[in-house]
């Protein structure tokens, strides 16, 4: 068990790095996912097709493959994802700005992959708004944009919170993969490092790493359960 104390800074560092990538990826995925969701519910068939195509491709591909394309396909396209070296952000999240691009690649992969699920979560929120609401709005003469803005979206975000939260939880867990794609020092890579290279006993390391993830996922899950129950009662 002493490894938990001796190597506390390593665990803490791993946790901190995982947290950083999760926060950044969540923000990115929410933005991209929202754009996709708008495409998917728009009245313009080609836009819908683009949204649908995106979702179908990224939802059905293992994240491992997406990670691979980000880490080795992007360089082949001549990019080191330098567009992510966003001035103020890179001083807060130092790994964003380093010359070593794998943090950025991992971020791109997580964002691309998670956005597909975010899109679906948002859409399920829109679907949860009773059809009568949109019909009533149309029957008053509201246009599609007004309908979304004044009637549907203000109601749908509530129904989206829980599915969105699940998507984010899943994303936190999925981030465990970044350690296998060149990001040194996140929680999962720490587990590997401590047990394989440094030969620490397996069980305490497993406990430490589990706690690291559970700290992020369980409270969020519990919060979602609360929200869900409250919403169920309000219905």
């Amino acid at each position: 068990m002493s490894v938990l104390i001796d190597k506390f800074d390593v665990f803490a560092g791993g946790f901190w790095l995982t947290l950083q990538i999760c926060v950044l990826a969540a923000v990115g995925a929410l933005i991209l996912g929202a754009v996709l969701a708008v495409l998917r519910i728009s009245p313009v068939p080609p836009l819908r097709a683009v949204g649908t195509g995106y979702v179908n491709v990224f939802r059905n591909m293992p994240l491992t493959v997406v990670m691979f394309f980000a880490a080795f396909g992007l360089p082949a396209l001549g990019s080191n994802a330098d567009f992510l070296r966003i001035p103020v952000l890179d001083s807060l999240f130092s790994r964003l700005g380093t010359d070593l691009p794998y943090f950025r690649f991992a971020l791109v992969a997580l964002v691309l992959y998670t956005a597909a699920f975010v899109c679906e979560a948002l859409r399920s929120g829109v679907n949860a708004v009773p059809a009568g609401q949109a019909e009533a709005a149309r029957s008053l003469g509201l246009t599609f944009g007004q309908n979304l803005r004044y009637v549907v979206l203000p109601q749908s975000w509530k129904a989206s919170i829980v599915p969105l939260g699940s998507v984010i939880i899943a994303m936190i867990k999925n981030s465990a993969l970044v350690g296998f794609f060149g990001v040194v020092g996140d929680l999962s890579q720490t587990a590997d490092q401590l047990t394989s290279a440094e030969g620490y006993a397996f069980v305490p390391v497993a406990i430490g790493i589990s706690i690291g993830y559970l700290i992020m996922t369980v409270p969020l899950g519990a919060l979602l359960d609360r929200i869900e129950k409250r919403q169920a009662v309000a219905r």
């Binding site: 699940s166 369980v218 219905r235």
Partner: protein
């Protein structure tokens, strides 16, 4: 689908014309963008050369049959692991769901018929058991599958139990997915109209009978689409076998790349395989969903308004995977 047409009107002639022009312009822009941003750089690096693609797409290539032989083996291994994992997850998940529902109703019982100390003991025991299962569910749901698989593969031998890597993968996937399936089924049962359980109680069925004969069969039906989506998740998750050297599709792909040095090409082929299979599965899930909402062999689950719990687990199940 019908929801979308509720948001806006069927387009009229002017709107259709606008759409047509707009999409023509967008297509051209997309093609130009793809040419400059994707085709050109890749072509400059020779990524379209037959030397790299040949072994994958050209049957006359000397390596073609060898490569596809290997990919075939890998895909078979992927399917084997996924099938085993989903079957055992279903079994374990169902038991877990029933257990949790039963424990929930058991903790509400007072055991009034029994002696006081015994009734307190039984009440304490059922509360404890229900808490333990709850904690297990939360822990295994909260851990990344990669980590679970990794822990299984490293942990089991630590305690002197060792299997083939296939079984580590299956066990790791089962631990995680059975918990998810249990939650899917549980929310399916709890999402059924309360009237079903009440009607069952009203004709004198016991809680276990009610769960087994009334709730579970209907939960299975409602959740069939979500369960099929979970299959997609499992299929994708088998690709994590690479961390424990299980020779599934991706791992074999890695070996092929080691010899042929064509990573992008091999990964494109593998991605397409996954997308095709999983897309077919999700279409199947949608089809089943539509059939169900038409046939309505479960109480009160019209297609547009699934119970909130069901909604959650559905999106969760599609969100979980790697």
């Amino acid at each position: 689908m019908s929801q979308q047409s509720v948001l806006y009107d069927v387009p009229g002639p002017r709107q259709r014309r606008l759409t047509l022009i707009g999409s023509a312009v967008a297509t051209v822009l997309l093609l130009v963008g793809a040419y400059f941003l994707i085709y050109r750089p890749l072509n400059d690096k020779g990524q379209f050369s037959m030397e790299l693609w040949g072994p994958l797409v050209d049957p006359s290539n000397e390596n073609f049959s060898l490569v596809w032989d290997r990919i075939g083996t890998g895909f078979q291994n992927t399917l084997t692991a996924a099938a085993l994992a989903i079957v055992s997850s279903l079994v374990v998940g169902t038991l877990l769901a029933v257990l949790r529902i039963q424990l929930k109703s058991l903790t509400r019982r007072r055991f009034t018929g029994l002696a006081t100390p015994l009734s307190y003991l039984l009440r304490g025991l059922s509360t404890l058991l229900s808490a333990v299962t709850r904690v297990c569910v939360e822990v295994f749901r909260g851990l990344p599958v990669v980590i679970t698989i990794f822990f299984v593969a490293r942990g089991f031998p630590e305690f002197g139990v060792s299997f083939d890597t296939l079984w580590y993968l299956v066990i790791g996937l089962t631990i995680y997915n059975s918990v998810v399936i249990a939650e899917i089924l549980r929310s399916g049962m709890e999402g059924l109209p309360g009237g079903q359980a009440e009607a069952a109680a009203a004709i004198g069925l016991s809680p276990l009978q009610t769960t087994r004969m009334i709730l579970l069969p209907q939960a299975f039906r409602i959740m069939l689409p979500a369960l099929i989506s979970q299959l997609v998740v499992v299929l994708k998750d088998t690709s994590l076998g690479f961390i424990i050297s299980y020779e599934e599709t991706l791992n074999i792909g890695k070996q092929i790349i080691g010899v042929l040095d064509n990573p992008i090409q091999v990964y494109v082929v593998i991605a397409v395989m996954f997308i095709v299979v999983n897309y077919a599965l999700s279409k199947l899930a949608q089809y089943v969903q539509r059939r169900l909402s038409r046939g309505r062999k479960t109480a009160g689950t019209p297609a547009q308004d699934p119970p909130p719990a069901a909604l959650m687990s559905q999106s969760e199940s599609t969100g979980q995977g790697i």
